[in-house]
């Protein structure tokens, strides 16, 4: 029982090593990103549904839209406020991409932060990059 000092020293090194990521990144938490809206989107003020709803539920809406367009050929969405929308992610000016025309400034901002990687753009054609 004469190794008390070694054990304690070892324990201290171990604890420091294990907690390294925590204190190394202390105070450096990435700020919550705010997706940049295009002028066209800002002008509209409201997306298909209210902002808060879109923030939380946009993936559900996209899922419902996909099912409806692909399987039922029903392509017009009438929102709670009575406005009509063309149900499309990436075709035409009245699609999602028509307003949110920058993937980097809009989709990627939050998706990268949350480490979500939806594979929409392997098939759907993303808007051209130079358009910012």
């Amino acid at each position: 029982m004469n190794d008390k000092s070694k054990i304690i020293a070892g324990l201290i090194i171990f604890v420091i090593f294990i907690t390294f990521p925590f204190w190394y990144n202390m105070g450096k938490a990435a700020p919550v990103p705010e997706p940049k809206l295009t002028d066209k989107a800002k002008l509209e003020k409201e997306c298909v549904e209210p902002k808060q709803f879109m923030k939380v539920e946009h993936m559900q809406i996209l899922d419902v839209w996909r099912e409806s367009v692909v399987r039922n050929a029903s392509r017009t969405y009438v929102s709670k406020t009575g406005k009509k929308f063309n149900m499309s992610l990436a075709s035409g000016d009245d699609s999602c991409i028509g307003c949110h025309s920058s993937k980097v400034d809009f989709c990627d901002k939050c998706h990268n932060y949350a480490s979500v990687r939806p594979y929409c753009w392997t098939c759907h054609i993303e808007p051209p990059k130079e358009k910012k």
Binding site: E49, V64, R66, S68, V70, R71, N72, A73, S74, R75, T76, Y77, V78, S79, K80, G82, K84, M87, A90, S91, G92, Y119, T122, C123, H124, I125
Partner: protein
């Protein structure tokens, strides 16, 4: 004693009245709520509808491959179909082939010269009883009520059972990422990705907005698409006045593409 019973009955009566008004209030409350409308999904009123879509190809209206190339090209262009240099990676929605390969069961030694050397357009037959739909384990391929056999590319896992099941070879598999092989992307239509099967969709995306399929539009009247259950439709008139054949009808799949020879 008497007094307390009396007051008890009073309170009970008032309570009963109170409870009785709740449903009434609810009705009023819901009346207010119903002014807030629910979101709903509608069809485009301009969409073309049919009980059962079918196509009639009048093979007398063209003579050579040159006549068919613009038709194939029109389809390839709007559907972002890649042009692979390697034949084995080829993606085809609509293409052409010789009589002996298209109508394998009707070929014989003495087929007349015109038919023998005529290229025949081939595409998905949008079968009445599609084998591909039965084979698909994820229901990525399905048959719509109006007879169009469609694919939900989101759900395709690339198992290729449908390709094995299809008696017409109408399906192609993306062995490679198609993006680099598409010269000019049509922004209105998605591409596919590596590892999914694809085939003709009878231009479902065009029918939904009131346009006829691209091949029919590019064919100068050689291809007619319409409702085969509507006796007044153009396809029915064509079939009534001309003898038409189908590919491998003996298999019982019920193909919906008719060829006037």
């Amino acid at each position: 004693m008497e007094n307390s019973r009396r007051s008890f009955l009073k309170i009970a009566g008032i309570s009963a009245l109170g409870l009785g008004t709740k449903p009434v209030l609810n009705v009023f409350a819901s009346g207010e709520n119903s002014e807030k409308r629910e979101a709903e999904i509608q069809k485009n009123p301009a969409a073309l509808k049919a009980k059962r879509w079918a196509m009639v190809i009048d093979t007398r209206k063209y003579e050579s491959e040159e006549d068919l190339k613009p038709i194939v090209e029109a389809c390839n262009k709007i559907h972002n179909i890649p042009k692979h240099t390697n034949k084995r990676h080829e993606i085809m929605w609509i293409w052409f082939d010789e009589f002996k390969y298209v109508f394998t069961n009707q070929e014989h030694e003495f087929v007349d010269d015109r038919v023998k050397h005529l290229p025949f357009l081939v595409l998905c037959n949008h079968c009445e009883k599609p084998a591909c739909v039965r084979a698909c384990p994820t229901k990525a391929t399905f048959k719509r009520d109006d007879g169009i056999v469609l694919m939900d590319f989101h759900r395709c896992i690339g198992c290729r059972f449908c390709m094995a099941a299809c008696p017409y070879g109408s399906r192609s598999f993306n062995f490679r990422d198609p993006r680099p092989f598409i010269k000019e992307e049509n922004k209105e239509f998605p591409t596919r990705m590596k590892g999914v099967v694809e085939k003709c969709n009878l231009c479902a995306e065009r029918l939904a907005v009131g346009k006829m399929p691209a091949c029919a539009e590019a064919s100068n009247g050689a291809i007619v698409v319409g409702d085969i259950y509507d006796s007044e439709s153009e396809v029915r008139k064509l079939l009534k006045n001309n003898y038409a054949i189908r590919r491998k009808p003996e298999l019982g799949a019920g193909p919906a593409i008719y060829y006037i020879v």
